[in-house]
């Protein structure tokens, strides 16, 4: 019966997303504003839907439909998740996200933003009987509240300066607006999981049910970026300090995220860190666009902004696919630790193919959809080197090209690790050996998203132009970008040569099956395979100082060299931020709380003394005023 209600809910969700998609398609090209006839407390709400918002609505629909198809079967495995709680918070989250996307003033934005935060926290806490999940939900809730506090401060400040809540009226080009701009940037960055505020993200995404992580990573984190575009980019921010802060944060985030993704052994955490990396990239795009437009280089600004939006959309698609794929694995294999998986490709072919597509996209490999955004960013950076400008900016561009390529290589290793260890080779546990595709609906959802990824990769040029026109219609200067992706050419060449190679060389040949090369020892056990840890080790060693990477191995036995009895290997990664920054900060709050609690000592004489001393202080204040 419960299952049935779940299906109804998912049908409703589908209906919702389809209807907003249809609505967005019909109204494409127009700019709609709407002010509801009622007040929210004392504030009137303003909604505005332009093409930019519609693009995000399309993304919303794609992600939500997939999740709606995926959810009912996926949720069956969780006895602890209260389905009612899950669906109510999901709907709340979906609706508030839609409204955040179309909100045109700060109050409206903030209200739905907070509802979104609360409902997503409720989603994270779905499986609340686990301690880890509760901890994650609390961390997330704390981070998100701090984010909105900072955002509030920025909004208030802007209101003081401009006397308006409407985003369109906010002009960030005056020096007095630099601090509020900084605050708004910080608030949105916390919410998006930008370094050094990203710590909540892996916790939350790995603790939440995969469907909600897919939604949060695929759509919610993008909304923060959309807000950056809406508020700061369209407000013509030109403070070099803010822009460079954003740029540097973006660079660090991209690198940091991918570095930690590389050394994660939990599939969900790995993907969560890769989300951090992608958000860093988007932030780089936005910061770069801001910088270019403050230098009056409209073309580059436009290119970078298009890159940002395109990457938002594409990342939304492939990241939700990754998370849903993870959900499928979780359902059939029970665990997501890479050390327990292996050999799933044969048992779960659909998931395997879809995950491969997603990983290809996430590595930004052509012709899939991760590529266009990254490519456009490279182009913009390159253009910036070529035009006349400050040497510092050019150097920054060169270094970020360098960084981006390193990040690209790192994400490739991280995702190859995830994919290969989870799907290839032999199963490392009985659960993994017995895994199988459990439900058609889940496979359908995966295939749907995978085909979205493929299609948006193939029609990347169309996407670039439509994003460009959407941006133009949203109040930014219209620029034609001449560069276009050679996607179709690549595709034709690749497919042609691949088919040719296959039929020429491989197709009719008879093959012989034999065991994997085992140096003649025989009986190669699954444990002899490389582990996720050891795969990442050579790369991780290079970044030892950043990761605090420790590799301890202990060998027991009389003849340790030739006949070890027991080998114990342990890898430890310590997040410097967590241990050196956040833990002390938390401890500081705790200590100050405890020391202030000592004032409440229990003795009435001391309490009376407080009254007397307050009197004296007040009298002194009275003299002062």
């Amino acid at each position: 019966m419960r299952d049935f209600s779940s299906k109804i809910a998912s049908a409703l969700l589908c209906l919702l997303s389809l209807s907003v998609m249809v609505w967005a398609t019909i109204t494409w090209g127009t700019e709609l504003t709407y002010t509801p006839p009622f007040l929210l407390g004392v504030f009137s709400l303003n909604f505005r839907c332009d093409d930019l918002a519609r693009l995000f609505i399309f993304l919303f629909s794609a992600v939500t439909i997939a999740i709606a198809i995926f959810s009912p079967d996926y949720l069956q495995q969780y006895n602890n998740i209260h389905k009612g709680q899950y669906w109510v918070s999901f709907f709340l989250l979906a609706v508030s996200l839609l409204l955040v996307v179309v909100s045109a003033d700060a109050i409206c934005f903030l209200v739905f933003w907070e509802i979104m935060a609360l409902s997503s926290a409720a989603l994270v806490a779905s499986d609340h009987l686990q301690k880890k999940v509760r901890k994650a939900a609390l961390i997330y809730l704390g981070a998100t509240r701090i984010a909105s506090a900072v955002l509030c401060a920025g909004f208030l400040w802007m209101h003081v300066l401009t006397n308006s809540w409407i985003f369109v009226n906010w002009d960030f080009s005056r020096p007095s607006t630099y601090w509020p701009a900084f605050l708004i940037l910080t608030g949105l960055c916390i919410k998006a999981g930008i370094w050094p505020f990203h710590l909540w993200l892996p916790y939350a995404y790995s603790a939440a049910p995969s469907t909600s992580s897919a939604f949060m990573s695929g759509f919610m984190s993008k909304v923060a970026m959309l807000a950056l575009v809406r508020i700061l980019v369209m407000g013509h921010l030109n403070s070099p300090y803010v822009i460079w802060t954003a740029f540097v944060l973006g660079c660090i985030t991209a690198f940091w995220g991918v570095l930690f993704a590389l050394v994660q052994n939990n599939l969900k955490k790995l993907i969560a860190y890769s989300s951090i990396e992608n958000l860093g990239l988007i932030l780089i795009c936005i910061a770069f666009s801001l910088n270019a437009s403050s230098n009056k280089q409209v073309l580059i600004a436009h290119m970078a902004l298009v890159a940002a939006i395109v990457h938002c959309l594409n990342h939304g698609l492939f990241k939700s696919l990754l998370f849903l794929g993870t959900g499928a694995i979780e359902k059939s294999a029970g665990r997501l630790d890479l050390e327990y998986l292996g050999g799933l490709a044969k048992q779960m072919p659909t998931t395997w193919i879809c995950m491969t597509v997603a990983c290809l996209a996430a590595c930004a490999l052509p012709p899939l959809n991760g590529f266009p955004g990254k490519w456009l960013l490279y182009q913009a950076l390159f253009q910036n080197i070529c035009v006349k400008g400050a040497i510092l900016e050019k150097t920054a561009s060169v270094l970020s090209i360098c960084l981006l390529s390193a990040v690209g290589a790192l994400i490739l290793s991280a995702l190859v690790k995830a994919l290969a260890v989870a799907f290839l080779g032999k199963a490392r546990s009985t659960n993994a050996a017995e895994a199988s595709e459990r439900s058609i609906a889940m496979s359908v959802a995966l295939v749907f998203l995978a085909s979205c990824c493929v299609l948006s990769g193939l029609f990347a040029n169309a996407m670039l132009t439509s994003v460009g026109s959407a941006l133009a219609s949203s109040g930014l200067p219209t620029v034609r970008v001449e560069v276009s992706l050679p996607t179709s050419f690549i595709v034709i060449t690749l497919i042609g040569t691949s088919l040719a190679c296959y039929f020429l060389f491989l197709h009719p040949v008879k093959t012989r099956k034999y065991v994997t090369w085992d140096c003649g020892y025989g009986s190669l056990s699954p444990k002899a395979q490389v582990t996720a840890d050891s795969f990442a080790q050579p790369s991780a060693r290079i970044f030892r100082p950043l990761l605090r990477y420790h590799n301890l191995s202990k060998i027991d036995g009389a003849d340790r060299r030739h006949f070890p009895e027991r080998i114990h290997v342990e890898t430890r990664i310590i997040s410097i931020l967590e241990t050196k920054v956040y833990a002390p900060l938390l401890a500081m709050v705790n200590v100050s709380s405890r020391s202030i609690a000592r004032l409440q000592a229990g003795s009435i004489h001391i309490y009376l003394l407080y009254v007397c001393s307050t009197l004296i202080i007040l009298l002194l204040l009275g003299v002062a005023f």
Partner: protein, 216 residues
């Protein structure tokens, strides 16, 4: 320094309050408190004579009946009942606190001089200083003494101080207000008295300093 009769009474009352601090015996404390209140009642009556305000006589009578008579009797009944003759200790040694109080008595003159005085009859700064001094003695009593009854006495002294202040600075509050205040005071003393009984019953002592269970 030319002191009028009410001022003289009030200053004497303030001095008596200082003396209150010197002894740990509850009966002495209560007796001195009664004397102090009688002096204040007298001052009220004198003030009534000076200003010709009939209400003040009524107030003087009320104070005499309730504050100077009923309340000390009630409290001494409690202390007899609970067999608490002596305060079990003071955070400040009794003689020292008395001396401190005397210093504050002098200090309050300095403070009272700062108070603006309108030239209407009855406004007097020595009276104000008596009020301040009483207030401070009451505070010190409350801060220093450990026994519940002493705290109530301290509170009453504070109340006396405030009343003195009102008397000398405003020729007394309106009768209704004054009566209301007195009623509140009486109820407060009654409630406190009841609570003291309960404390004795529950804790088998009335040492307030040991009531430290509720804290963070």
């Amino acid at each position: 320094m030319n002191l009028s009769a009410p001022e003289l009474c009030l200053l004497m009352a303030a001095l008596v309050a200082c003396l209150t601090l010197g002894s740990l015996h509850l009966s002495v404390n209560l007796g001195l408190f009664a004397i102090e209140t009688v002096l204040i009642a007298l001052a009220t009556a004198f003030m009534g004579g000076i200003t010709g305000d009939r209400e003040l006589y009524v107030i003087a009578l009320l104070i005499f009946c309730f504050k100077a008579f009923t309340v000390p009797l009630f409290l001494s009944w409690i202390s007899d009942k609970l067999m608490a003759q002596r305060d079990i200790g003071s955070f400040l040694p009794a003689p020292l606190s008395m001396h401190l109080c005397l210093i504050l008595f002098v200090l309050s003159f300095a403070l009272a001089k700062e108070i603006p005085v309108s030239h209407a009859a009855g406004h007097s700064w020595p009276g104000a200083s008596a009020g301040i001094s009483l207030l401070l003695s009451g505070l010190i009593l409350m801060l220093a003494r450990r026994l519940a009854i002493s705290q109530v006495v301290g509170f009453l002294v504070i109340e006396n101080g405030i009343y003195t202040f009102a008397l000398t600075q405003t020729r007394g509050m309106p009768l209704m207000v004054e009566m209301g205040i007195l009623l509140d005071l009486l109820v407060a003393v009654m409630v406190a008295g009841l609570l003291i009984f309960k404390i004795q019953k529950n804790f088998e002592h009335i040492d307030i300093a040991q009531l430290k269970d509720l804290r963070d």
